[in-house]
Amino acid sequence: MSITADNLVWKIGKRTVLDGVSLRAEPGRLLGLLGPNGSGKTSLLRLLGGLKTPSAGRITLDGRDIGEVGRRALAKRVAFVEQHATTNVNLRVIDVVKLGRFPHRSMFSGWSEADEVAVEEALERAGMGEKRNDFWQSLSGGEKQRVHIARALAQSPRELILDEPTNHLDIQHQIGLLRLVAGLPVTSVVALHDLNHAAMFCDHLIVLQNGRVAAAGTPEEVLTEALLRDVFSVKARVERSMHHGRPHIHYLG
């Protein structure tokens, strides 16, 4: 068991954004987070990443309350990839990836062998090794997303949290990126919009609706015609794909 959330409640002012959300991310697995716009996906990820503190309920990492883990210690094991985070600073790819070593270095320590290895591995995994000296502003959307993932991997995390990483990417890069994430030896929690992609790549799914968990389980258990109608308000047929064996959704007009 790596990340678990127990009965999370999060309120902004009087509005309840998350209401009694519980989940458990299995080690090494990819947990997909689904839900219509405004259902609380990003908020839940922020809580899981320790960027915000829940109003009630608790989040644990290997049984330890996340609030007791220091900021820096948390960043050593949980990496967070925001939705299209960008910068006007003209950094090189390698500099961005090196930012991932921030939590591992003290104020005075130099650049170590371990830092170098982690950065090289991360660049390699994300397929950005050849672009290491390119400037951030010259990258395409897909490449920027890959650099963020490389930066996150350079943190040497055991848990990786990604907020809609495939947004604005063309289909080739969407599939490539999800395949990359699914193949990583870390526990991942990913918010996604495309239900078919979620069915193809995720081991487990959680569906949020108005801040509550509407369904949870394997893609087969979760992605039912009734759920698509009730939560996403679409008419659809779900069948087992003859190509990859996972559920496939046909949307009806």
Partner: protein, 346 residues
């Protein structure tokens, strides 16, 4: 092994760079000391300094020595430290607020300082016991706290902080104008105006002691925060997810820049443009990583300000231009050149 050699080489390069930049600053300061109604040869300036340090015993013209020690050297050194402090503050503001237009006065510090100054000069607040500088310093910090309050402490985020700074600047500038137009006589208005545009006239060794101590002491924690500033490149949330204590880092860095800027503004008035332009120019030269950028800003800012001070004294014979006018007049063409070069390079 390779790591040790790499580290030794890096240290060597750093030392060489420090000596080079120290030499460059020393040279422009020496040139600055030589220029004026009474020209003094470079060799005389250098001898005067080495005499004082006990390294030499050259016989020098008494008048020359007086001019060097009592007027020009302190002035040039104060200019160097002010330039360094403003450029450093500008670089930090641009990183923290993630805005290329940010500069040291963006949080309303100069507007607050001017209100503090007119309160002392025109309204006579402090009953003569408080100097213009002290009033300006108090005003600067009043504005800073006002902005901190308005931007909801450290939770406000960059845009909100900038808006709060704009509001504070408007408010304090209005207060200054109100006091000047309703209560000031012509002479007082002129004094305040001159101070507002920035002036190194009248700075002596006590001012040097103060500004060198403040900028020197602030530089060290700023350098320790260099990597934290890099982590802010993708925003507050990204910095937090890398393990930065965002609230603490913002408070510490804003406070450091506020202390430096308020000290400088209360001493020599509002000298614009240096804090905005020098960080950009330095970024073109050494890249955006702050461990290199911050020292580069301090060095380039110092050199730029001393050169601007020289220009302010020689552009119009027998007259000293306000330094703020010169920094803009010299700075804009220089900045255009840098922008143009950069455009071609990329």
């Amino acid at each position: 092994m390779t790591q040790t050699i790499g580290a030794a080489r890096a240290l060597g390069a750093l030392l060489a760079l420090l000596v080079l930049s120290g030499g460059a600053i020393g040279l422009v300061v020496a040139i600055s000391v030589g220029i004026g109604d009474l020209p003094i040869p470079l060799s005389t300036t250098i001898s005067a300094v080495t005499n004082q340090l006990g390294w030499s015993a050259v016989e020098l013209n008494q008048i020359h020595e007086t001019v060097i020690w009592d007027y020009r050297l302190s002035r040039a050194l104060v200019a160097a430290f002010c330039g360094a402090g403003l450029a450093l503050s500008g670089a930090i503001m641009q990183a923290l607020l993630r805005n290329p237009l940010a500069e040291p006065y963006v949080l309303g510090i100069s507007a607050g300082a001017s209100t503090g100054a007119v309160a002392v000069v025109i309204l006579g607040l402090g009953a003569g016991a408080v100097s213009l500088s002290a009033g300006a310093f108090a005003g600067a910090f009043a504005a800073f706290f006002f902005v901190a309050l308005l931007s909801n402490g450290t939770r406000g985020g960059a845009d909100r902080t900038i808006l709060a700074g704009v509001a504070a600047s408007q408010l304090f500038n209005a207060a200054t104008s109100y006091v000047v137009t309703t209560s000031g006589n012509a002479q007082q208005a002129r004094d305040v105006m001159f101070w507002l545009l920035g002036s190194f006239g009248g700075v002596r060794w006590p001012e040097f002691m103060l500004v060198s101590t403040v900028v020197g002491l602030c530089l060290i924690p700023c350098l320790l925060y260099a990597r934290v500033l890099d982590a802010f490149a993708f925003g507050d949330e990204a910095a937090a997810s890398l393990g930065v204590n965002v609230a603490r880092a913002r408070i510490a860095l804003f406070a450091l820049t506020a202390v430096m800027t308020a000290t400088i503004v209360s001493m020599v008035g509002t000298i614009g443009f240096v804090g905005l332009v020098v960080p950009h120019a330095a970024r073109f030269l050494v890249g955006p990583l702050h461990i290199r950028l911050l020292p580069a800003c301090a060095i380039a800012g110092a050199i730029f300000m001393v050169l601007a001070d020289i220009a302010s004294r020689i552009l119009i014979p027998q007259q000293v231009l306000p330094i703020g006018v010169v920094t803009a007049l010299v700075g804009v063409p220089f900045f255009s050149f840098v922008l143009y070069r950069f455009q071609r390079a990329s």
